[in-house]
């Protein structure tokens, strides 16, 4: 049976069909042999035995004819009738001689029946001799005179009885020979019949055996081909349904024929699919991990964006405070200016007002101090804003770093991370924008600082002028003129302060505007993050669907 498995299918089929052909040849050979043997026997009977029988019966027939013709010779017949009989008798003898010559080949065939042949030959010879004896008186009768005829007839009649005896014995012997020939034909025919029966039995046995053998061969070859194919189809159906757990049975793998090759191919296919599914599962896992990391990065970026937004709000409210302080300063500057004008009027009214003036001067000095204090506070608040923008810059720097990391992660995610990498680029540019805005704010703050310094200086100048005015408040015309001059300077300083404040206000407006743009950048940042989150979700879904796909297979 193992031999059966190792022969190629082609070899099996060739062997099966070859066996059928051999069986057919054996059966056909048997039939051909029996038919040719029968026909040979028939031919022998037709060409040999039947002519023999015929010659023998002819001899018998003409023997009787000669006997009748001999008996017909009677004295009461006239000469003409006798001549006719004699002629006919001679012709009959000629036929008999001719037939006897044909007998020679019979004698050759039946050499083993020498005794019978000899008796036939002897009796024929004696029969021929006695007829020769009859010929002499008969021919004499035809020539003789009527007186002599009577004697000759008597002589003829005396030979008749022995002739009849010899004729009978010849007939008997020829019949015997004929019966031998007949027996021979009978025996031949019956032996052929016997052979025919045996042969048909043998043919029947051969047909049954051959049929069984052919059926067995056909069954075993077909089953050795069709059973593994059915098994293979079942395996492939399982593969189609995603069940990769079953291997091809060893019994098929060990076969060395085409079925074995097919089994190896199916096994290789199964193993390949298994490996691929395992590899795909790994890819799906790493995809999920990447998606998770991206989500984590996104939430970090979102948190820092929220911090930025809070810082911006804080900056804005501080700026509002600065603005209100500046407004107060302006108002106070205007008051100073007004007071100075009033002072000048008072001085011009005269000496008496000097005391009052001094009092007014003191008041002005106090106000100056208050302005200086306010401006110093303003300077401190500007410093605070500087700190906050520093924080904004730091946050922007961190966002930039996160964006770089996000781009690196996106590159690892490959083709699917490409969208994310574009978004990371956008986040990076937004971080850059935030940084630029913060820098702008810092630049503006420097200008504010400058303006504040100028305001402080102007305040100091004003204070000095007030002091000098107080010193020179002697009730002389010159000193009053000096005081007037001092008031003029003071008024000038107040207007300088006002100008500085206006500059400061415009600076504050610029800061507020910058803050607005930082806020806007933050909002965009958040929107971008939402998109990234969506992209990460898509990545996660993709990982899930890939994993679902893989789960359809059972490895």
């Amino acid at each position: 049976m193992s031999l059966m498995k190792n022969i190629k299918v082609r070899g099996k089929l060739l062997f099966g069909f070859g066996a059928m052909v051999v069986i057919a040849l054996v059966l056909g050979g048997l039939g051909f042999y029996s038919v040719s043997r029968l026909s040979h026997t028939m031919e022998e009977i037709k060409m040999d035995k039947i002519p023999t029988i015929r010659v023998l019966s002819d001899i018998g027939f003409y023997r009787m004819a000669v006997r009748i013709e001999s008996v017909l010779v009677k004295p009461d017949l006239d000469l003409r009738e006798l001549k006719v009989i004699a002629n006919r008798r001679n012709k009959t003898f000629a036929i008999i001689d001719d037939l006897w010559n044909k007998m020679t080949f019979i004698f050759e065939d039946y050499g083993n029946n020498k005794a019978i042949l000899d008796t036939v030959k002897d009796s024929y010879r004696s029969w021929r001799e006695i007829h020769s004896k009859l010929d002499q008186p008969l021919s004499a009768i035809l020539e003789a005179t009527p007186e002599d005829r009577k004697v000759l007839f008597d002589q003829y009649q005396s030979i008749m009885p022995p002739m009849i005896l010899l004729s009978d014995s010849l007939g008997e012997h020829i019949d015997k020979l004929a019966s031998i020939v007949n027996d021979e034909i009978d025996s031949k025919v019956s032996s052929e019949l016997m052979f025919g029966k045996k042969l048909s039995l043998a043919s029947l046995v051969a047909i049954i055996t051959g049929g069984l053998l052919a059926f067995f061969l056909a069954f075993s070859i077909t089953s050795s081909v069709s059973v593994p194919i059915a098994e293979g189809v079942a395996l492939l159906n399982r593969l189609r349904d995603g069940d990769l757990r079953k291997d091809v049975p060893d019994i098929f793998l060990q076969r060395k024929d085409e079925i074995g090759e097919l089994a190896h191919s199916i096994q290789a296919l199964t193993e390949n699919m298994r490996e691929q599914i395992v590899a795909m599962a790994e890819v799906s896992t790493s995809l999920s991990t990447s998606a998770y990391q991206i989500s984590a990065a996104v939430s970090q970026v979102t948190a820092s964006a929220e911090e930025t937004s809070a810082a911006v709000v804080e900056t804005t409210s501080t700026m509002e405070e600065v603005r209100s302080t500046a407004a107060l300063t302006t108002k106070k500057s205007k008051d100073v200016s007004e007071s100075a004008k009033n002072g000048i009027k008072v001085v011009q009214r005269g000496k008496d007002a000097t005391e009052k003036l001094l009092g007014g001067l003191k008041k002005i000095g106090d106000q100056m101090n208050s302005i200086a204090e306010t401006i110093v506070r303003l300077s401190e608040q500007s410093q605070e804003i500087g700190d906050i923008t520093g924080t904004v810059e730091d946050l922007a720097e961190q966002s930039n770093l996160l964006a770089v990391n996000a781009a690196v992660e996106a590159a690892k995610a490959g083709e699917e991370g490409r969208g994310f990498s574009v978004v990371a680029q956008e986040i990076k540019s937004l971080a850059e924008q935030s940084k630029q805005s913060a820098k702008q704010v810092q630049k503006i703050l420097k200008e504010i600082q400058k303006a504040t310094d100028a305001a402080v200086m102007a305040t100091e100048q004003g204070a000095k002028a007030v002091e000098e005015g107080a010193k020179e408040s002697a009730p002389s015309r010159e000193s009053i003129q000096d005081i007037t001059k001092g008031f003029g300077e003071m008024s000038h300083a107040a207007s300088l302060i006002e100008n500085s404040n206006n500059e400061l206000l415009s600076g504050v407006d610029q800061v507020l505007q910058a803050m607005e743009s930082v806020k806007e950048a933050g909002v965009q940042n958040l929107a971008g993050m939402k998109d990234v989150e969506r992209a990460a979700k898509g990545l996660k879904d993709m990982g899930q669907s890939l994993s679902d796909l893989i789960n359809r297979y059972q490895v």
């Binding site: 720097e397 930039n400 770093l401 964006a403 770089v404 990391n405 781009a407 690196v408 992660e409 996106a410 590159a411 690892k412 490409r418 969208g419 990498s421 574009v422 978004v423 990371a424 680029q425 956008e426 990076k428 607005e516 806007e520 909002v523 965009q524 929107a527 971008g528 998109d531 990234v532 969506r534 992209a535 898509g538």
Partner: protein, 172 residues
């Protein structure tokens, strides 16, 4: 007016993030760039693990000059290498923003490179490099080529350099 501008920017962000518009971008090569003193350098992002500012580093005794020390990266110990020592560059003054770590990562190797800011991502369509300036240095193979004025380092060669592997028995 301001509202409109914000809407336009939002739409642009949406369209860039949506998948259908990605095809026109083609395949991009991304490089992470950094500075060593006044020169710009870059490494393909395929070899980069992550980047982060250097905060705390533990100096390790008995290691070659190019090893700065070890850091704690989320519970993992990571050795930090100074590329300036490897590339025979002078140790410049520290920047205002401090120093940064770029981790190089392969299946068998991971370590940090200590670099100067600013860090950035360069995205180019084709990675055709100009040949590097010929050098007799034994570490010349670290330089893959020039991308305009950026020196591109070969991350896979640095990662696979056996000279950078410190034998376990070395420190004992």
């Amino acid at each position: 007016m301001r509202k409109t501008k914000s809407t336009i920017l939002r739409e642009r962000a949406n369209s860039l993030a949506s998948k259908k518009n990605l095809d026109f971008l083609g395949k991009r090569n991304e490089l992470v760039s950094f500075r060593l003193n006044d020169e710009s350098y870059a490494i393909s992002s395929l070899h980069i693990g992550e980047v982060f500012p250097l905060k705390e580093i533990t100096k390790t005794p008995g290691v070659p000059g190019f090893v700065v020390g070890i850091i704690n990266l989320r519970g993992r110990m990571l050795s930090v290498i100074n590329p300036k020592v490897l590339l025979n560059l002078p140790e410049g003054p520290e920047e205002r923003d401090g120093r940064f770590i770029v981790t190089l990562r392969s299946e068998s190797m991971e370590f940090g490179l200590m670099v100067d800011p600013p860090l950035d991502v360069i995205s180019v369509a084709s990675l055709s490099l100009d040949p590097p300036i010929p050098s007799s240095s034994e570490k010349a193979s670290y330089v893959a080529g020039l991308l305009k004025d950026v020196i591109v380092l070969n991350g896979s060669i640095i990662l696979s350099d056996p000279d950078l592997v410190i034998n376990k028995s070395y420190g004992n």
